[in-house]
């Protein structure tokens, strides 16, 4: 069986939702992290609903709804991934618990804090009564969601699947990252971080959703030719797997300016060192589900009209891109897309 990613949508620190391409400099850089460039949400939600929605819902639902709209497809499964879910809402509820000392409180933050809020709201908003699921496995949340979609196709339990991943960078995730010493202490952009390696990364956020099916459905369709995840202690297997893969035309690589991370990346990608590489985290910042926007980027680069990107030119259209991700949790993944 073959698996294809068809229409897609992405909200990220770039103007990706508007399809602006190639990339422009960041406009949302705060001191230590980089926020998503959020589109005008009014066409998607009534104002009263929008006011009550957390950022993860806004980003996740909008990208999901855009794919549904563009693909004009009746989806029979909705799957999303998120490493941290709605941390913002979770903390607001936690804050109420301590502020009111477990007295009476409003349930809105609690009900919005469940990780399945994006998949279930997508179902609710589009009156979709089909298969509905949410995966949360740190830096494999997107990959596992894509795999779940492929397994559903294998089992003939669905034929058109809406699949994606979303994570927000709330103050609270940022604080936890800080305690883990994961965040760059100097105020740099992700590009500057890459050029001046140090300790930690520049956190980012975003969402990307795709139409997954067993047939190419549109001109933008790309095939998912290979997908594998690796737990922290299995990193040497990445090297083994890469050695067995056919050579892609381009690799999207997960360097982020963290010395330790970049050293590990160099080691693992060694068999493919002669193949052109683009470090994707400089465009999106780093997050456990940044592989979703990276996959979206790879799909754009496989468009036959693309002749180059970020200083790399190619003579004929690219036919395959390997998306290699690695995150601070130690987890990594390989995803090979083919035109």
């Amino acid at each position: 069986m073959k698996y294809y990613l068809n229409h897609s949508s992405c909200i990220s620190p770039q103007s990706s939702f508007e399809g602006k391409f190639p990339y422009e400099p960041f406009t949302n850089q705060t001191t230590h992290h980089i926020l998503a460039s959020e589109p005008d949400y009014k066409p998607f939600f009534p104002m009263n609903l929008l006011r009550r929605m957390g950022k993860i819902s806004r980003m996740g639902l909008t990208t999901g709804l855009k794919v549904i709209e563009d693909s004009k497809t009746d989806f029979d499964a909705i799957i999303s991934g998120s490493a941290y879910g709605s941390n913002e809402e979770s903390f607001k509820f936690l804050d109420q618990i301590y502020k009111y000392d477990e007295g009476p409180m409003t349930p809105t933050n609690f009900t919005q804090s469940t990780t399945n809020v994006v998949s279930s709201q997508l179902g609710l908003m589009t009156k979709n009564y089909c298969y509905n699921s949410t995966n949360s496995q740190k830096a494999h949340s997107f990959e596992n969601s894509l795999l779940e979609g492929m397994i559903l196709l294998d089992n003939q339990q669905a034929s058109h699947i809406l699949v994606g991943a979303v994570d927000e960078i709330s103050e609270y995730t940022f604080n936890l990252f800080g305690l883990l010493n994961w965040v760059r202490k100097d105020q740099v952009t992700p590009q500057e971080a890459l050029n001046n390696p140090g300790t930690g990364f520049v956190p980012g956020e975003g969402s990307a959703f795709f139409h997954l099916s067993t047939q190419p459905e549109s001109e933008c369709s790309v095939e998912v030719a290979y997908l594998k995840t690796f737990a922290g202690i299995d990193q040497e297997n990445v090297l083994k797997e890469i050695r067995q893969l056919e050579e892609p035309d381009l690799i999207l690589t997960p360097r982020n300016g963290d010395l330790e991370n970049d050293k590990a990346v160099n080691h693992l990608i060694a068999p493919f060192e002669d193949i052109p590489q683009i470090d994707f985290k400089q465009f999106f910042g780093d997050s456990p589900t940044v592989s979703a926007p990276a996959t979206w980027l790879a799909q754009q680069l496989l468009n036959p009209a693309m002749t180059g990107f970020q200083g790399i030119q190619w003579e004929r259209p690219l036919t395959s891109i390997l998306v290699f991700n690695k995150f601070a949790t130690g987890q990594s993944s390989l995803l090979l897309l083919k035109k």
């Binding site: 903390f91 618990i97 609690f110 009900t111 399945n116 009564y129 509905n132 294998d154 995840t229």
Partner: protein, 396 residues
């Protein structure tokens, strides 16, 4: 490609026992684990009753064979115990398992005070900074058992671990894995207790699902794990049951309540019958989700009536024994269903049932021996996530 998937090992810890055998003993004796909670840090334990596992974290570490200074949250400790039991019964080591897929909603967030401080950037020495997210427990279980290459965690609220079982079955059926460890774990936490209280869903007494006088949920805690193996992998090894049918559907009605038409629950049960390739008359018992809330039980009964029409099988909910264990409920109750098949005994709620206009056939009150070939187990969650599983006895 394996089309048939069997359960070859189970592990279970809940308010009514540390092992599947202890749990079964309590069920047949009608002994409920609902009472005053001693260990969870919440003021609301003065008011509500819970299905708390009757061990301190130190005792859980001992049961799990961990040193007293091991730094794990309660959810993980419960998961270690149940996962270890399941592997032992299946006679397998972690190196023979291709993946762990579990349901979870609380994770290390059960350490609510520590999380509250850490999330504000306060370093209180908890060392749990990277373990409050949902996916942490699966990774910890993998490390505790040795090493399992693939990890996944599903959070579809209260149907999480039913979906984990379903995903494991489909993974084996697609040929992507031979053996998987599936299940779920959740500990009681100040966070969820206050969450359910803010929605006014908690009961001050032992819950009474499907009874006219029901007035809410008892939250519980626990973990349940199952080893799933494809037909080709097991050879002549004894099997406990087959996972024959599975169905996942969304109610798509409201974030926290079920539709009056019971769309999602009905569809999940119908899909489970369809994947099993059986008609509704072939199911002898339904282990209902039955939380004890006005809304869930009324909707679930309506769905049962729609699906089973004239011939409604015996049904009951075990939540009056264990409380609602959230992300662990689907797997714990699938194991209860398996034990019922093994012992050819259906478990009644063992509480007094009063009439309800909307529930025309009341659930089973007293346990009894009956010939059982198939049992359906339901799990429904916030967000409309509904899942039904069908277990079949033996390997015929």
């Amino acid at each position: 490609m394996s089309h048939r998937v069997f359960i070859t090992g189970v592990g279970l810890i809940s308010a009514i026992g540390d092992t599947p055998e202890e749990n079964w003993q309590s069920l047949v004796e009608g002994k409920s684990g609902i009472g005053t909670a001693k260990y969870v840090d919440s003021k609301l334990t003065d008011r509500f009753v819970f299905g708390e596992v009757p061990h301190s974290n130190e005792e859980l570490k001992q049961i799990a064979g961990l040193p007293s200074d091991a730094n794990f949250a309660r959810t993980s400790l419960l998961a270690f115990i149940a996962a270890g039991e399941a592997l032992l019964q299946a006679g397998l080591t972690s190196s023979e398992i291709d993946g762990i897929i579990m349901g979870c909603t609380v994770s290390s967030m059960c350490e609510t005070q520590k999380l509250y401080e850490n999330a504000q950037g306060i370093d209180n020495g908890s060392m749990l900074y990277d373990r409050y997210d949902i996916g942490s427990v699966a990774m910890e279980v993998s490390e505790y058992l040795g090493h399992i290459p693939y990890h996944n965690t599903i959070n579809t609220a209260c149907s999480s671990s039913a979906n984990a079982i379903m995903q494991g079955v489909m993974m084996i059926r697609s040929g992507r894995a031979k053996r998987v460890l599936v299940g779920g774990a959740d500990a009681l936490s100040k966070y969820t207790i206050n969450g359910f209280n803010s929605m006014m869903l908690l009961s001050e007494q032992r819950c009474s699902p499907f009874s006219g006088n029901r007035d809410g949920i008892n939250l519980g805690e626990g973990a349940g794990f199952l080893v799933l193996e494809g037909e080709e992998s097991i050879a002549s090894k004894p099997v406990l049951a087959e996972v024959e049918g599975f169905g996942n559907a969304n109610d798509s009605y409201h974030a926290t309540s079920t539709s009056p038409e019971a769309t999602g629950p009905t569809s999940a049960m119908q899909k489970a019958l369809r994947t099993a390739g059986i008609s509704s008359e072939e199911v002898q018992y339904i282990n209902a989700h039955g939380t004890g809330t006005e809304n869930n039980d009324e909707t679930e009964f309506q769905a049962i009536r729609k699906v089973f029409d004239k011939q409604i099988p015996l049904y009951a909910s075990t939540k009056a024994y264990t409380g609602h264990t959230l992300g662990a409920a689907g797997s714990i109750e699938t194991i209860f269903s398996l034990l019922m098949l093994r012992h050819q005994t259906v478990i009644g709620g063992n509480y007094t049932l009063t009439h309800d206009d909307k529930i025309s056939i009341l659930p089973l009150e007293a346990s009894k021996k009956v010939p059982l070939r198939r049992v359906m187990s339901n799990a429904f969650g916030f967000g409309g996530n509904c899942t039904s599983l069908i277990l079949k006895a033996g390997r015929e």
